[in-house]
């Protein structure tokens, strides 16, 4: 295309999960959105922020949110950066913390956005395969040529979890930058955040989109050593988070009761979903997230995905080696799960 530079020309395009323009007509189990709404406290806080002050610029660094998250996690605000969703944080990582001459190591199968963002920033990368059971063998990322390693924990789309001990062992040897994407960590715990106190080459990222039911607001966090956080602040756009998103995220951190309630509900529903899929002939990868990665013993995932879509039930189907054998199903409300199982029953003729 005319006027496109070589980076833009050479990069692939990221295709997010379908967002139908009439979402209420669909059962959307394809983008890992939380099936439960944010609490009234969060919504009312945002509404109260929605006043004449919107004419003013927001706090460029979202200082109060940094302080709140820091004090909850026994770190300092200087260890916390607030981004416009964790997407922005990954973009900034590729722009600021790896030289063009270096190589990034990205897991497979994992979040395909990593690859696209590496390409969008002219960064070369290698794919490192997860084990046959989709577990992380951190030894495979130990390569002196890797200046940046990203792992997703729990891993999207498989739901598999890499224990903190393994990450710690890796950091004892590895000298490049390690990013642990914890977008889904809140559901079952096991964060690596504590490790940032010991290792200055670790960035842990978080998201308000899933566990806090705030995908519509676009707030993500990076937690790291002071020097790296200063780098994020230096390279970010001057006002990257809007005023309403900042206040919404602050309120979400305060309202622990609703947070815990939603998390528990998602976990209950996940168990219910798994119990109902197994008798239908599905293999389910053990997941510590709000989604499961499954394949049927006979019917290809592509076919199931397409037939469910006809019935206005969206699950996520990825093309490509390995991934295309499976499909990813986000945990929905009980009603949504029942509707899904009903349709699968019909399709599979069980």
């Amino acid at each position: 295309m005319k006027y496109w530079n070589s980076t833009l020309k050479n990069m692939a395009e990221y295709i997010p999960g379908e967002q139908p323009s009439n979402p209420d007509e669909y059962i959307k189990l394809n983008t890992n959105e939380n099936p439960f709404p944010p609490s009234d406290f969060v919504l009312n806080t945002i509404k109260n922020t929605c006043n004449g002050n919107l004419r003013r610029y927001p706090d460029p660094t979202a200082e109060e949110l940094r302080e709140q998250f820091a004090s909850e996690n026994e770190i300092t605000p200087e260890n916390v950066f607030v981004g416009n969703g964790s997407d922005e944080i990954f973009t900034l990582i590729f722009r600021a913390f790896i030289e063009k001459s270096d190589i990034a190591a990205l897991p497979y199968p994992s979040y395909p956005l990593y690859d696209i963002l590496a390409e969008a920033n002219g960064i070369k990368y290698e794919k490192v395969n997860l084990g046959a059971d989709f577990s992380y063998n951190m030894e495979n990322f130990l390569n002196r040529r890797y200046g940046l390693v990203i792992i997703c924990n729990p891993n999207n789309p498989t739901g598999t979890y890499c224990p903190v001990d393994k990450i710690k062992d890796f950091l004892d040897t590895y000298t490049g930058l390690l990013v642990v994407d914890e977008a889904y960590i809140d559901f079952y715990g096991g964060s690596s955040i504590d490790l940032i106190k010991k290792y200055d080459n670790l960035i842990v990222t978080r998201s308000f989109s899933k566990s806090y039911s705030l995908a519509g607001l676009r707030v993500g966090l990076a937690v790291s050593s002071k020097g790296i956080i200063e780098g994020f602040l230096k390279i970010k756009d001057s006002y990257n988070i809007d005023m309403l998103a900042i206040e919404g995220a602050k309120a979400a951190l305060i309202d622990k009761k609703s947070f815990k309630y939603n998390i528990d509900m998602v976990k209950n529903n996940k168990e219910y979903l798994e119990e109902n899929l197994k008798p239908l002939g599905f293999e389910i990868i053990p997941s510590r997230a709000n989604f499961i990665f499954v394949k049927h013993k006979e019917v290809p995932s592509k076919e199931l995905y397409e037939r469910l879509k006809e019935k206005k039930i969206l699950v996520r189907y990825f093309s490509g080696n390995i991934r295309s054998e499976f499909m990813r199903i986000s945990v929905g409300t009980m009603m949504e799960i029942k509707a899904l199982c009903r349709e699968l029953n019909t399709i599979l003729g069980v």
Copy 2:
């Protein structure tokens, strides 16, 4: 710093206008915020959007906002890109539409963020001086080595305006990419948007921060040829604008009556400000924006800035050649302007 790449190390840091943590104690005439709040219609629309749907991802391309702006401007939605403030748009321009081997031409004195963003993306640039009266001599940008030219129209911080005819003439000869930053165009009109129909190498940017009183929301637009807009969509983060910002911007476009009222008020107040500064001995650069660029015939701007700050009145003072002779004053409410003039009277002992 450890782990910073060379781009991050070598770039300068952008310092936005001061945002005191207690803005209500200050008269803030330093960041060109609109002194009048967004309308009730806009605020109520956002509040009504603030519901359980926030658990969902926003529309990744803000399709309805693109359609609305396009139909108002007799272009197509394929000519419109929605960014997280026009800051994000400039970042994307440097990332996607200029090769690292090319040179960007940036005006001086103008918006200092352009320089920083060029540096943040490893793009070499040259500064092109405005005329002695701060007018744009577009011939000075006609250089075959320039792959990208940015002009700000009306220019920040001087308020000077470059007529569309001059821009058209320039485009008849120039073959690189031209960006016209129209963040302040709504106050006195004279947009170059129509030119995108004829020239596929023009990007016009807009902002909801100033004329629409929505700096807190972070919404900017890029208007250009279809191929360039496709490039923006390809390289942007997957969900770059949050749900509330999209709905707020849509409502702001609908409520023309409040928009026009605010614009008229700002223009009236600007006249009043100018009329009151002249007798105090200020030279005022003719401005077509919601701010004025002034210097006193005797007292240096730096001193005035500092003494006003002591009195909790913030104006914008820039360091550097030329710019430091002047200071930029945003147009405030009548009460704010009166307070400013009162303090200046005292300081200057008129």
